[in-house]
């Protein structure tokens, strides 16, 4: 690692001020960033830790019935405390391994937007709102392709608001070496319709499967998905799976998610 300083502010305002410095970068749980620093793929002069800021920690319910999660809340805490949204708790409880879950944060996962990460599927699959120090971003506008997001330089995610669905399920097909999703599908049913978000599959990162959403909104059952298929064009191909295999898994996991959610 190149040398850098670490700051540990205790308020969002202090963190934003510290991030305005040249070559400053946010540090969440470090589960992605520390390996990146070790490989010298990043060379910040200052790391601004976001994990000592009480206003970015913890879960609560908003007046509109959304589950609010502070962006510096660890995966382990979401797994233990998101009782109002069991599918989200289950997703958080299956990220990586226990030690990763004790450090990794929601905000870090979303800022990184790894194409195989789990949280982006929940955020897009619920149409959540991403709150930053400067504004609110709708999930549909936030994810902009592999490792790309709507965040500006120095902008930090402070909270995510998840509208709690009537029922939901996340199904992850484990890539056992990395413990990320080879493919993961989040299905959420709302009184207004069904959302289906897919991670791990597309070269464009997390995406919504519109045909499945339409079919499931009309009839929320596994049979509604009969005959629907995703084209392998634009799907990730690597030594763990071909694009055809990933496209196939999307159909399988969507059916499993619906079956689990009913």
């Amino acid at each position: 690692m190149y040398a850098f300083e670490i700051e540990r502010p205790t308020t969002i305002a202090e963190a934003v001020a510290a991030l305005a410095a040249d070559e400053a970068q946010a540090l969440g749980g470090g589960q992605t960033l520390i390996p990146t620093l070790k490989q010298r793929l990043a060379a910040p002069e200052t790391l601004v830790s976001l994990t000592a800021i009480p206003e970015m920690q913890g879960l609560c319910m908003s007046d509109e019935g959304a589950l609010c999660v502070g962006a510096a809340t660890t995966h382990a805490r979401v797994a233990a405390e998101a009782k109002a949204f069991p599918a989200l708790a289950a997703l958080a409880g299956h990220i990586g391994d226990p030690a990763v879950r004790n450090r990794g944060t929601l905000g870090g996962s979303l800022a990184n937007n790894d194409p195989s990460a789990c949280y982006p599927a929940a955020v897009l699959g619920t149409g959540a709102t991403i709150k930053t120090n400067a504004r609110e971003i709708a999930a549909d506008d936030y994810f902009q392709g592999m490792f790309a997001t709507a965040l500006e330089e120095g902008e930090i995610i402070t909270e995510v608001r998840f509208p709690v669905p009537t029922t939901a399920s996340y199904q992850k097909f484990l890539q056992p070496a990395s413990r990320f999703a080879l493919v993961g599908v989040f299905v959420a049913q709302y009184p207004t319709g069904v959302r289906v978000a897919v991670t791990g599959a597309s070269e464009e990162g997390v995406f919504r499967w519109a045909e499945a959403e339409a079919a499931l909104s009309a009839d929320f059952g596994v049979e509604a998905l009969a005959g629907l298929a995703v084209s392998p064009d634009g799907m990730i191909a690597d030594l763990h799976g071909t694009s055809e295999y990933r496209a196939h898994l999307i159909g399988v996991l969507t059916k499993r998610a619906v079956a689990a959610a009913i």
């Binding site: 690692m1 190149y2 040398a3 850098f4 300083e5 670490i6 540990r8 470090g30 589960q31 520390i34 390996p35 620093l37 070790k38 790391l47 830790s49 994990t51 382990a76 990586g96 391994d97 226990p98 030690a99 990763v100 004790n102 450090r103 413990r179």
Partner: protein
């Protein structure tokens, strides 16, 4: 260099670290607590697992400065006050839960974290909890057996 202050295995310690000093390097190099191992240095293997404020973390993927003010427990803090092995450590010995022993400090620390959360885990729960601990020698079976035994469950019928 920045000053850090933490409690390690019940003892208050003071040190000076760079921003980039990893917790595992502070423990091994500055405090000479070399029981915590570095297997992969890429957050994959769990050989460096320690407890920070009671939570299992990979000390190769946390900065020492982030543990400022924290309570840290390493494998050196696991034995009983009289120096005898703890129940978990004794179970690893009794059930041949180690061969070369390189992964063992991390396995014992993971097991301790698991048994605190789930005092009587099922075999599936033990295996799931050890997701981030890699052992290249034992094939895991005797590690699982040792942890089940340490939790007070009968493992006499388990096949070695």
């Amino acid at each position: 260099m920045t000053d850090v202050k933490m409690t390690v295995n019940g003892q208050p310690v003071l040190g000076q670290v760079e921003g980039r000093t990893l917790l595992v390097d502070f423990l091994r190099t500055d405090l000479k607590l070399t029981g915590t191992h570095v297997g992969c240095d890429t957050s994959q293997c769990g050989a460096c697992l320690v407890h920070v404020n009671g939570a299992a973390v990979k000390a190769c993927t946390m900065f020492a400065f982030e543990a400022d003010g924290a309570e840290v427990t390493t494998i050196e803090g696991m034995a009983e006050p009289d120096g005898s092995l703890s129940r978990i450590q004794q179970a690893f010995q009794d059930h041949h839960g180690l061969q070369c022993g390189f992964c063992t400090p991390g396995m014992v620390m993971s097991a301790a974290a698991l048994l605190k959360e789930t005092p009587k885990p099922t075999e599936a729960e033990v295996r799931a909890y050890l997701e981030g601990n890699i052992c290249r020698c034992t094939g895991y079976h005797n590690i699982i057996k040792a942890i089940m035994a340490a939790s007070g469950q009968d493992v006499s019928a388990a096949v070695a």
